[in-house]
């Protein structure tokens, strides 16, 4: 906020150049894979943060939309040969529509019971895709036919191409968040998150605003689902509706800074880097280590810095600023 307009643009330009050049400079496929994970989960976090962060509707069921996006585009591609680029948008629309009845049910509850209801809806969807085999391959799932280099079908030979796709998604997500944050909608969302009754009293149609932001959040989350399936060439209910997706969407936002533009990105960088380091030290043989560390980080943030890393950085920044005159 303190930086002047010009400085902000300069930082953005530098950031853009670095992000665009990164896959050209670092060519190790392991590293690019980590970058892609960071961008993907940042994007999912950004989608979650719109509703969970700004409006404090703490969902732990965003895997529902990740899975619906993944399945919509995959069914369209495998059964009808339709490009996942189209399927991706279709998946987003399906997720948006699904968020209406799901939201209708879950928004009847507040606080922790809203959270529980969202978990249940994602689990129900997973169970449906597991049980009804004729519908979408059941528990075995399916592989995506590998077409080699087919950009029109969202398939690339170079990992860096996937990097640019997901980078594009993240930019879109951040841009939407920025636009909402700076508009009346952003004020309304925060107001609902702070006190729904008080918001209603000043004319905020809280149920409608919550419904709308849930639709946007679901749409974006579904795009991530399509991308992920295309990236790993495989889909099954356990991956598409994985509870871990729901968890990580919320975690990266909370750790980075809930209800802030860059919070989910910063949270993901921290969590995914930690996870990658742990894996390279211990190998992937130790099950549970990643989430053990995540949960410890989450507890530390909640107990000592509920505003997340962004809040921490702002505090430090202001403290050093305040000291400066004393030194002079």
């Amino acid at each position: 906020m303190q930086t002047s307009g010009n400085m902000k643009w300069l930082w953005l330009a530098v950031g853009a150049v670095v992000m665009l050049a990164l896959p050209q400079l670092v060519t190790s496929s392991f590293a690019i894979d980590i970058f892609i994970r960071i961008l993907l989960f940042s994007f999912i976090g950004v989608a979650w943060n719109l509703m969970g962060g700004y409006a404090k509707q703490l969902s732990l069921g965003h895997a529902a939309y990740f899975g619906l996006g993944a399945y919509t585009s995959t069914i369209m591609q495998v059964n009808y040969g339709i490009s996942p680029w189209i399927g991706m948008i279709a998946g987003g629309v399906v997720a948006m529509l699904a968020s209406l009845p799901i939201g209708w049910l879950c928004f009847r509850l507040r606080g922790p019971y809203f959270t529980i209801a969202t978990i249940a809806t994602a689990q129900v969807l997973m169970l449906i895709f597991l049980k009804f085999r004729d519908f979408a391959w059941g528990a075995e799932g399916t592989t995506i036919p590998n077409l080699g280099s087919a950009p029109l079908m969202m398939q690339f030979e170079e990992k860096s191409s996937y990097y640019y796709v997901v980078l594009g998604l993240l930019v879109v997500g951040l841009w939407i968040t920025h636009r909402i944050e700076k508009s009346w909608m952003g004020y309304y969302l925060v107001a609902i998150g702070e006190d729904e009754d008080a918001a209603e009293a000043v004319g905020v149609n809280a149920p409608k605003i919550k419904r709308d932001i849930y639709m946007i959040s679901a749409f974006l989350t579904a795009l991530a689902g399509t991308f992920y399936t295309q990236y790993i060439y495989f889909i099954d209910p356990a991956t598409a509706f994985s509870f871990n997706v729901s968890i990580e969407a919320a975690l990266v936002s909370i750790v980075g800074g809930i209800g802030t533009l860059w919070g989910p990105v910063i949270g993901t960088v921290l969590l995914e880097t930690t996870s990658a380091l742990l894996q390279s030290w211990l190998g992937s043989s130790v099950g549970g280590i990643q989430l053990t560390v995540y949960s410890l980080i989450l507890m530390a943030v909640i107990l000592w810095r509920p505003t997340g890393l962004i809040g921490f950085a702002t505090d430090v920044y202001h403290r050093t600023l305040r000291r400066k005159p004393a030194r002079a």
Partner: protein, 249 residues
């Protein structure tokens, strides 16, 4: 004078408790009416019923001729009736300005316009110096001021104030009384729930007295303080015969 708010036969039960029973009163345009009564008389519940937070079991609430029973609180607000809460409900994480802008967006969704309207409301209630303060850091009286500014920013014609003077010291009460008078002078119709008799006598032209959910009296302040039933039900509950030990106090 036109009728701003016409309340007829308002009733609400919670389980076995008759919180509000067949309450009727009328508020003229640009009049300040006080709703008084002992604790649990149904004042705050009446506010909830009038502003759409609770749905009455029966009765009607006409605001400038529009029936508001059945409307959601945000619709009631859009019709031009704004309220404050007994326990102030600021959006704690937001600055004062952002709080009030949230109210202003009801009439104009452009940032610049909302900011302008919000600043006017903030100036009006005397919070101008604290525009950038996070609402959670405000004192009690400033939180009340903020609630009023936020309500004002929605550009209401009727303002319902729920115990805006509770918890204030005498000097602050004087400031609050002045503010309510200023609001009235700006043309607003005001319904105020209050316990501080001094403040009520200063601002209200008409008083409605509730007890156990029922209206037991209404009239001009002078009549009300002399009404024996009111003294018994309401004032009486505050006036205790002096105990022998109190003499030196």
């Amino acid at each position: 004078m036109a009728e701003a708010l016409v309340i007829k036969g308002l009733s609400k039960r919670f389980g076995g408790l008759r919180a509000v029973q067949d309450v009727s009163f009328t508020v003229q345009e640009n009049e300040t009416v006080a709703l008084i009564g002992p604790n649990g008389a149904g004042k705050t519940t009446s506010f909830h019923l009038i502003t759409g937070f609770h749905r009455p079991d029966s009765g009607s609430v006409l605001a400038f001729g529009h029936e508001v029973v059945g409307l959601k609180p945000h619709d009631v607000c859009a019709l031009g009736m704004a309220r404050t809460f007994q326990v102030a409900k600021p959006f704690g994480a937001m600055t004062v300005l952002a709080n009030v802008m949230t109210g202003a967006f009801l009439r104009d969704r452009h940032i610049a316009a909302a900011q302008k309207k919000a600043r006017e409301a903030i100036e009006f209630v005397g919070l101008g110096a604290k525009e950038q303060t996070p609402a959670k850091d405000l004192t009690t009286i400033d939180q009340r001021r903020l609630e009023m500014a936020r309500a004002l920013a929605t550009q209401p014609r009727i303002l319902l104030l729920d115990e805006v003077m509770a918890g204030l010291n005498p000097a602050e009460i004087d400031q609050a009384v002045a503010l309510v008078k200023k609001l009235s002078a700006s043309g607003l119709t005001i319904v105020i729930v209050e316990h501080v008799m001094r403040a009520i006598m200063a601002v209200a032209r008409h008083i409605v007295v509730l007890d156990h959910g029922q209206k037991i009296a209404e009239g001009a302040p002078k009549e009300i303080v002399e009404n024996p039933e009111v003294i018994r039900a309401y004032l009486g509950s505050y006036v205790h015969p002096p105990a022998p030990g109190d003499a030196h106090a």
